[in-house]
Subunit: 162 residues, 2 copies
DNA sequence: CCGATCTAGTTCAACTTTCAAGGACTGGTC
DNA sequence: GACCAGTCCTTGAAAGTTGAACTAGATCGG
């Protein structure tokens, strides 16, 4: 065991701010959406994904991948949204294991009604507090981080196995 | 109702990257700590807070405030950590409603054993991927966001009521 | 000192997430 | 065509979270 590479003071401060800001923001948006749309942030995100997809539907696995959640979690989430009447399941003809999640008209309506309030909340909490340069910086930083954590092909780092 | 201030393309891209990166990172660290320390990230954070406090103990409300979680959530969390033997509760002499959460020696030992691995995970996922300028930028951005969301004195924005 | 009000912390029920297990189906391969 | 490994998705139980209700103790005005 080598000496661990501890964080510098600057890094520690940044890390702490990161943790505070991200948890506060996530909480804030969760409450905002729970109050105004009757669902947590992640569920709202699923509806948004579906709304943008062709025919307003997606295969479960694809949706899970895009939303960065496990298939199990998605199953439960879609079950709940189905109960609300905001999403419907459809079978996949070409692969009988498959399922499509489809945004219903009712689900679309919820989105239409609540999107402005949600965007406003995001704006107030985040973009209104940043300069245009900072928005750009944040984008670059987050892209770098996401790229590093993207669950890739399991053998992507083992090219000699190919 | 005015026309909502929708996000620009740049803002949308940034927002998406932000959501992806933060959820991926949180998941990553949760799994890392669950595996190596037997607790979720937020619980680990509580132990860290306690370790840094004088006499390794804190009042519940103060701890909740610092960790940005509700008192309810903290109650459950401390109950679980107590069961693990990593935290003990102590009564507060000066205020009989109060409770101290105290880090036990065992809890400290867990921290000592698992901190290097955790720091390494944070480093690999975040700091190793950023330039020193980006670390500074991220710090500034997150400080600005956290400041805006800090639950403040409820009358802070109503000075005329004072 | 009395009652009204506030604060610290817990508890309960409803809900969400996770993990491990499993059922159903597909695509080779022999 | 029968196996076998892999993929798609669901399920059930355990763990964690939330918001509201609740208990106990503190505080303040009269």
């Amino acid at each position: 065991m080598n000496e661990p590479r501890w964080l510098s003071d600057e890094e520690q401060r940044t890390w702490r701010s990161y943790l505070h800001a991200t948890t506060l923001l996530e909480d804030h948006l969760d409450r905002q959406l729970q109050r105004d749309a009757g669902m947590p942030h992640i569920y709202y995100g699923l509806l948004v994904q579906l709304a943008q997809a062709p025919r307003r539907r997606m295969r479960m696995t694809e949706l899970a991948k895009d939303a960065k959640i496990t298939r199990s979690r998605l199953s439960h989430a879609i079950a709940r949204l189905e109960k609300n009447g905001w999403v419907a399941r459809e079978e996949c003809a070409s692969d009988k294991r498959g399922q499509f999640a489809t945004l219903t008209d009712e689900g679309y309506e919820v989105l239409r009604r609540t999107a402005p309030g949600h965007v406003e909340a995001v704006r107030q909490a985040l973009f209104d507090r940043l300069t245009p340069e900072q928005v750009e910086q944040l984008g670059a930083i987050m892209r770098a981080v996401a790229e590093g954590l993207q669950p890739t092909d399991p053998n992507a780092d083992l090219p000699w196995l190919r």
